[in-house]
């Protein structure tokens, strides 16, 4: 298993799966402006996926394109964190998921912008601009809905309680991460946590939301060992046409 390929799949699968989830909102947002913003976020994430998985395919050297990787792997070969495959739930849950991911994503891309691998640095620099906007928007909505009505506060707190156990996985390290860190390609995930934690704490305070006490974290997504049941269902949709009409070009 090539560590670099694995690392790139983790980056690209995160954006692919989250982009897909966000795109499920199409035409059903709570306000027209949010419909537009959601479509825009999904669009950015899919664009980033093309870059990450495109590079992953190049690195692998077996002639697989970004589309091949996206459309022709089964769930167990996906390397996204469990957080991004969780269902949309209500708009609050979607925004909380986005916010918890964006804060990590922003820090990760900042670190990758100085990667020793210039291809990775280039992608990260491009993506960082988009993600800065995602993070600003999702954090803003978490604050406004957290500190809104009693109902919106309750829903945002429920979303935080539901999703917080998926935060820890983003900061886990394994042999792939060690190899990346050693080569100066990517940061040690754990190194991003303190800043994330303090940013999240400040954000949640402003949103009048309470972070759960427990640091318990689910895992199994970024290693591929054990995804949630949700991913397989997502893939039945996402991959349908490529599976049903193999070899066609679109």
């Amino acid at each position: 298993m090539d560590a670099l390929f694995e690392f790139l799949c983790r980056m690209g699968d995160n954006t692919l799966v989250l982009g897909h989830r966000v795109s499920e909102w199409c035409g059903t947002g709570p306000v027209l402006e949010e419909d537009i913003a959601l479509a825009n976020t999904a669009l950015d994430l899919i664009g980033q996926t093309q870059m990450w998985l495109g590079l992953a395919g190049d690195v692998e050297g077996k002639g697989r394109s970004a589309d091949d990787l996206a459309m022709l792997r089964d769930a167990w070969d996906f390397r996204n964190v469990l957080l991004v495959e969780q269902p949309n739930g209500d708009f609050g849950q979607t925004m909380m998921r986005q916010c918890l991911f964006d804060l990590w994503h922003e820090a990760q891309l900042a670190a990758l912008s100085t990667s020793t691998d210039p291809r990775i640095a280039a992608i990260a620099q491009k993506a960082a601009k988009e993600v800065a906007y995602h993070a600003e928007r999702s954090a803003d909505l978490v604050i406004r809905l957290g500190d809104g009505t009693e109902e919106s506060h309750g829903r945002m707190q429920a979303a935080l309680d539901l999703l917080y156990p998926y935060v820890g996985e983003m900061f886990e390290s394994d042999a792939v991460d060690a190899a990346m860190a050693e080569a100066g390609i990517a940061p040690d995930p754990a190194s991003l946590r303190p800043a994330y934690d303090s940013r999240l704490a400040a954000l949640m305070a402003e949103a009048t939301l309470t972070l759960p006490d427990s640091r318990f974290a689910h895992s199994g997504g970024r290693t591929g060992f054990r995804h949630s049941e949700h991913l397989g269902h997502l893939l039945t949709q996402m991959q349908w046409l490529q599976r049903a009409y193999p070899g066609a070009t679109w």
């Binding site: 499920e24 199409c26 479509a39 708009f91 046409l241 679109w250």
Partner: protein, 311 residues
């Protein structure tokens, strides 16, 4: 009456009417209806395409489709804003859509069943929309005319993308060709219906044309659409599903079979194949989003109160 003549004179002179200008009640009412329904069509129109976003065959196609749907939501936004200048709020218009007092374009009551439908929608539906909308860039109401300028630019981009999908499909595998033809078969007559009923049955036409709210008759535009589309279908190697379609040397136009107007009126009455689903989807989005809208307003009120207290 004097004011009315003056108003008509301005229109005849090609001047734009602006929101603060005096205008006849009927002009305002007709425009609200027309702009509102146009806005609703953009919003509801997201749904048949949204139906395939999660199944788009490649990342590139998915991105293009997302961008298109995003544009449509944007068009909805411009149009609601144009309508708001006439004194009706977006929420009021939305309620009228949801309870059936206002309509949306009949075409979006039809389902999208294969990927080729994404091509057919772009090619035929956006093509028909553009044909309706290009003249509206010269409509008499300023905000509407300006919204149309922006919209038409994006729509013609969408149409080219749709045609590109069709070309890929029509030139693809046997299954893809069959998909392309099937999509044309299903969308041909509904597209012809997009220009509205035959001129003979069209209710609001003559006054609207005098006011330059409507620039051409339904049948004129329909004929223009057929004349433009038939050669494109030939280029794609697809057959228009109309055995009586033929070039008429004398008129210099294609003769064609009109759509089934009973079906059209059934769709308008809410009996389109997807009519119930479309409104149910929008209704659910609206209802599910109520807590979000309330939350955002409550937060804004808190901030305002805090600012006021600080002053």
């Amino acid at each position: 009456p004097e004011k009315l003549a003056e108003f008509q004179a301005r229109i005849d002179a090609g001047e734009k009417i602006e929101p603060k200008d005096w205008m006849p009640v009927g002009y305002r009412k007709t425009l609200i209806r027309q702009i509102g329904q146009h806005a609703h069509s953009e919003i509801v129109g997201q749904l048949p395409e949204g139906n395939w976003i999660t199944r788009a065959p490649t990342l590139e196609r998915k991105a293009i489709l997302l961008a298109k749907v995003q544009d449509e939501a944007g068009h909805g936004l411009y149009l609601y804003c144009a309508a708001e200048t006439l004194g009706v709020s977006r929420d009021e218009l939305t309620e009228m859509l949801l309870d059936g007092r206002m309509k949306y374009s009949s075409i979006f009551a039809y389902p999208t069943l294969t990927w080729a439908d994404m091509g057919a929608v772009g090619w035929l539906v956006d093509g028909a929309a553009i044909m309706n909308q290009v003249p509206l860039q010269r409509t008499s109401f300023g905000p509407y005319a300006r919204a149309m300028v922006r919209i038409c630019k994006e729509e013609s981009f969408h149409q080219r993308q749709g045609f590109d999908i069709m070309r890929k499909m029509a030139g693809g595998t046997e299954a893809q060709k069959r998909m392309a033809q099937d999509a044309l078969n299903r969308f041909w007559y509904p597209s012809l219906m997009m220009f509205g009923p035959p001129d003979a049955d069209s209710v609001h036409s003559s006054q609207s044309m005098a006011w330059k709210i409507k620039m051409n008759t339904n049948d004129e535009l329909r004929q223009k659409f057929v004349d433009q589309t038939v050669p494109q279908a030939e280029f794609l190697g697809l057959s228009i599903p109309d055995p009586d379609l033929r070039w008429n040397e004398e008129t210099g136009h294609y003769d064609f079979t009109p759509p089934d107007w009973d079906e059209f009126f059934a769709v308008l009455k809410g009996n389109g194949p997807c009519s119930v689903d479309r409104i149910a989807t929008r209704r659910k989005a609206w209802d599910d989003g109520a807590w979000v809208r309330d939350g955002l307003m409550a937060h804004a009120a808190k901030k305002r109160a805090a600012r006021t207290a600080a002053e």
